[in-house]
């Protein structure tokens, strides 16, 4: 792809998703694109019937209506066990409790899904750093989809787009690097910002993207196969699901922030205060391990949009990307898009030297 085909996007308008061309982001809209793998789609259709029993119970409870439900459910939540170790009935109860509480709190019909991982699925992600234009639509879409806290006091974003600038080698400094009279190198081009400046700036506020002499590197949770955050958690509240994503049971997290210290990708966020999520902006289609509203004092992070991807939909960031830089699919399916990327493109992982084996790959054409 040549440079001039990259669309330039005006960012001066305040709409969260940028220009008109992509249209308004609607988190409830059904995805018209599907994952490549036909086997995955079939699976999701099969599992859809089984999974929603809990959601139905929740809705029923809402219809019959009980005023003290909020207090009771909160109380019961305090004493529930670790989600992974719950029996199926306990899980259904927990989901039901949450649906009641959220529906009352956000004054809409909230579903809390508990769909389990499918067999023969391992989610993977690939991002074309050559295509990314740094528009941050993915960041906005992620926040709307995943119910992160927002506002002036604290704002959580799971994706951060790093802007890498280009520096310049100059003729004047050419001789400075030559050892002087005392034989010590005192200057040279290496003493300024030259080549590609690798310290990513993620607070850039340009009028237009992409900017001159910059390229972009979005980061989020890398969904490591050997995640340091999982190893350090004292209560196993964070763990790798069978289909790949590293998830958190928000109700089990004790807020010690060991995982934040251990993550080499700065992917984890902490709810420092009571999360602020306006009722009208709340996305009611949630998953227990994914985008359900969080409470204060717990850690959260990207889950590959578990509430969408387990239903055969793309993550919100993939769907919204205007340049198609983001690819997502089943790593166990040789025909999936992400596998084709791995097979045919130049691929690398971030901080590969740490042996965390991310399932988030970067590539160039």
């Amino acid at each position: 792809m040549s440079e001039n085909t990259i669309p330039v996007v005006e960012l001066s308008d305040q709409s969260p998703c940028g220009g008109e061309s992509v249209g308004q982001w609607d988190p409830n809209a059904q995805d018209d694109r599907s994952l490549d793998s036909p086997s995955r789609r079939t699976f999701v259709q099969n599992s859809a019937a089984g999974m929603s029993a809990a959601s139905l119970m929740g809705t029923a409870a809402l219809v019959t209506g009980s005023d003290d439900a909020d207090a009771n459910t909160t109380w019961a939540e305090h004493f529930q066990g670790n989600y992974r170790l719950m029996s199926d009935e306990e899980k259904a109860e927990a989901l039901d409790r949450l649906e009641k509480r959220y529906s009352l709190e956000y004054e809409k019909d909230v579903t809390v899904d508990g769909t389990e991982a499918a067999d023969n699925v391992l989610f993977g992600y690939a991002l074309n750093i050559k295509k990314c234009i740094g528009c941050r639509r993915c960041v906005k879409a992620c926040v709307q989809e995943n119910n992160q806290t927002r506002g002036d006091e604290q704002e959580i974003e799971w994706i951060r787009v790093l802007k890498m600038e280009k520096g310049e080698f100059t003729q004047e400094k050419l001789k400075d690097g030559y050892p002087g009279e005392v034989g010590i190198q005192v200057g040279g081009n290496a003493y300024g910002a030259v080549g590609v400046v690798l310290e990513g700036e993620h607070y850039y506020e340009p009028d237009k993207v992409p900017e001159q002499d910059s390229h972009y590197m979005p980061i989020a949770c890398m969904q490591c196969e050997k995640p340091p955050c999982v190893k350090v958690c004292p209560v196993r509240t964070t763990y790798r699901e069978a289909d790949g994503p590293v998830v958190i049971d928000y109700n089990w997290c004790i807020g010690c922030r060991m995982c934040i210290g251990a993550c080499p990708y700065w992917a984890r966020r902490f709810n420092w205060g009571e999360p602020k999520l306006p009722k009208e902006e709340m996305n009611p289609d949630t998953h227990y391990l994914g985008n359900r509203p969080r409470m204060k004092g717990v850690v959260e992070k990207c889950t590959f949009c578990i509430q969408r991807t387990r239903q055969g939909r793309y993550p919100a960031c993939v769907e919204v990307c205007p340049v198609g830089a983001r690819k997502f699919g089943n790593l166990l399916d040789p025909n999936s898009e992400v596998r084709r990327v791995l097979a045919t493109k130049r691929v690398f992982r971030l901080k590969a030297e740490l042996n965390t084996y991310p399932k988030f790959f970067y590539y160039v054409d």
């Binding site: 993620h202 980061i219 340091p228 209560v235 004790i254 010690c256 700065w266 709810n271 004092g297 717990v298």
Partner: protein
């Protein structure tokens, strides 16, 4: 059983018998409890947002104090070790005071862990059987285990000794000595594991080196006895318990020896990291010189280094070391120097820059400071009570036969 109840009654009634200075001291400490209660209330209701912490620097003053106090707890072994391994009589007589310090320090550690946690109401999730204890994977579970173990060892050793002394019965050495020797090794383990807690994270290059445990232990064995010297000099002045010069001299020798090793390790790290300053040395360079115009920690680093160097040089001189008018001030200087080195100087720059290279400054809020001061005050209240009771029994003021 009856004797045991009598012990508790005598012990408590002795503690409350105190002069004006004792009550003034306790009252002074109690003053910190009101802001502490307010700070905790705010943090519990509003969340950690009332602290100066952020996603960039998510570990701060609370954990810094925790790490330092684990060192103080371990440092108590500098009394117990010479007393029992070398049978050093001047320290042997007062070894129980070291155990009391260890108990108080571990309690302070636990208070700071509570302050650090985002969800202290969910602590039960960590209790084995009731919740999940991610052992042996999580270093934090190792740390919890060794700290609780150390607490129990000192509680049992200390109060068994006091109880036997109270009743006038001889110690059962087959029971007592093995526990003492276990507690000596255990003291090393608590600070080693605390070092492992932070140096096993490749994501934080400033901490990720094998020197951390020995550096922790060496500075702990300087800070711990420094505090003990000050306490001993206060006890000598204010109570009937006479702590021999020899005991204090032994401790100041330990301080200067361990501080030598600590300073040597600090300087080794500086040379290793700065000779070819890679990205991994960014944290240290930020700490020492500041970066991108951000230099909050620079005065702390140099202040702490100067404090430790000055204290070390002064203690090297035997005449100064044995001058008990100057000695407590030097000890306070070293204690504060090491507190900064392990706190502001190690815990915080470990998070700066973030793993993606962002430099964010951290400064604690008033609420954090109030909570920290409160935790320290509670620790010193407990320490005073424990020491007073122990001194009463060692002196023979509290005795079973007397009360009959």
């Amino acid at each position: 059983m009856k004797i045991m109840i009598q012990f508790v009654i005598d012990y408590i009634s002795y503690i409350f018998k105190g002069g004006l200075r004792f009550y003034a001291w306790m009252g002074f400490l109690a003053l910190f409890l009101l802001p502490w209660a307010y700070g905790n209330y705010m943090q519990f209701t509003q969340g950690m947002i009332v602290t100066g912490l952020s996603d960039q620097v998510s570990w701060g003053l609370y954990l810094a104090n925790f790490v330092f106090l684990v060192g103080v707890a371990a440092g108590a072994v500098t009394i117990v070790f010479p007393a029992y391994v070398y049978k050093y009589e001047p320290l042997h007589k007062v070894a129980v005071l070291g155990e009391m310090l260890a108990i108080a320090a571990v309690i302070m550690c636990i208070l700071f862990v509570f302050s650090h946690m985002g969800r202290p109401d969910r602590l039960w999730h960590m209790v084995p059987l009731l919740g999940i204890y991610n052992f042996p994977n999580s270093m934090l579970t190792w740390d919890t285990m060794v700290l609780i173990g150390y607490f129990l060892l000192n509680l049992v050793c200390g109060f068994y000794y006091l109880y036997q002394k109270y009743t006038g019965r001889p110690l059962n050495n087959n029971f007592y000595l093995p526990l003492i020797f276990i507690s000596i090794v255990w003291a090393l383990s608590i600070h080693t594991v605390t070092a492992f807690l932070i140096n096993t994270m490749p994501a934080r290059p400033m901490w990720h080196h094998g020197m951390m445990p020995i550096r922790f232990i060496s500075t702990a064995f300087a800070a711990g006895p420094s505090l003990i010297i000050v306490i001993f000099l206060i006890i000598r002045k204010n109570t009937a318990l006479w702590i021999e010069d020899k005991a204090i001299n032994m401790l100041s020798t330990i301080v200067v020896g361990c501080l030598s090793i600590g300073l040597f390790l600090t300087l080794s790290e500086v040379v290793t990291e700065l000779y070819h300053p890679t990205e991994h040395s960014d944290g240290l360079r930020y700490l020492m010189f500041g970066k991108h115009g951000l230099s909050n920690l620079v005065p702390w680093f140099w202040g702490s280094l100067v404090a430790m160097l000055v204290g070390w040089v002064l203690l090297l001189i035997p005449r100064v070391r044995k001058n008990y008018t100057v000695l407590p001030y030097i000890c306070v200087l070293i204690f504060l120097g090491i507190w900064v080195e392990k706190g502001m100087g190690l815990l915080i720059p470990g998070s700066i820059p973030t793993p993606i290279g962002e430099f964010t400054q951290y400064s604690p809020t008033m609420i954090e400071i109030m909570n920290c001061l409160g935790n320290w005050a509670i620790g010193f209240l407990i320490l005073t009570v424990l020491l007073k009771g122990a001194i009463g029994i060692v002196l023979g003021d509290v005795k079973y036969t007397k009360t009959q």
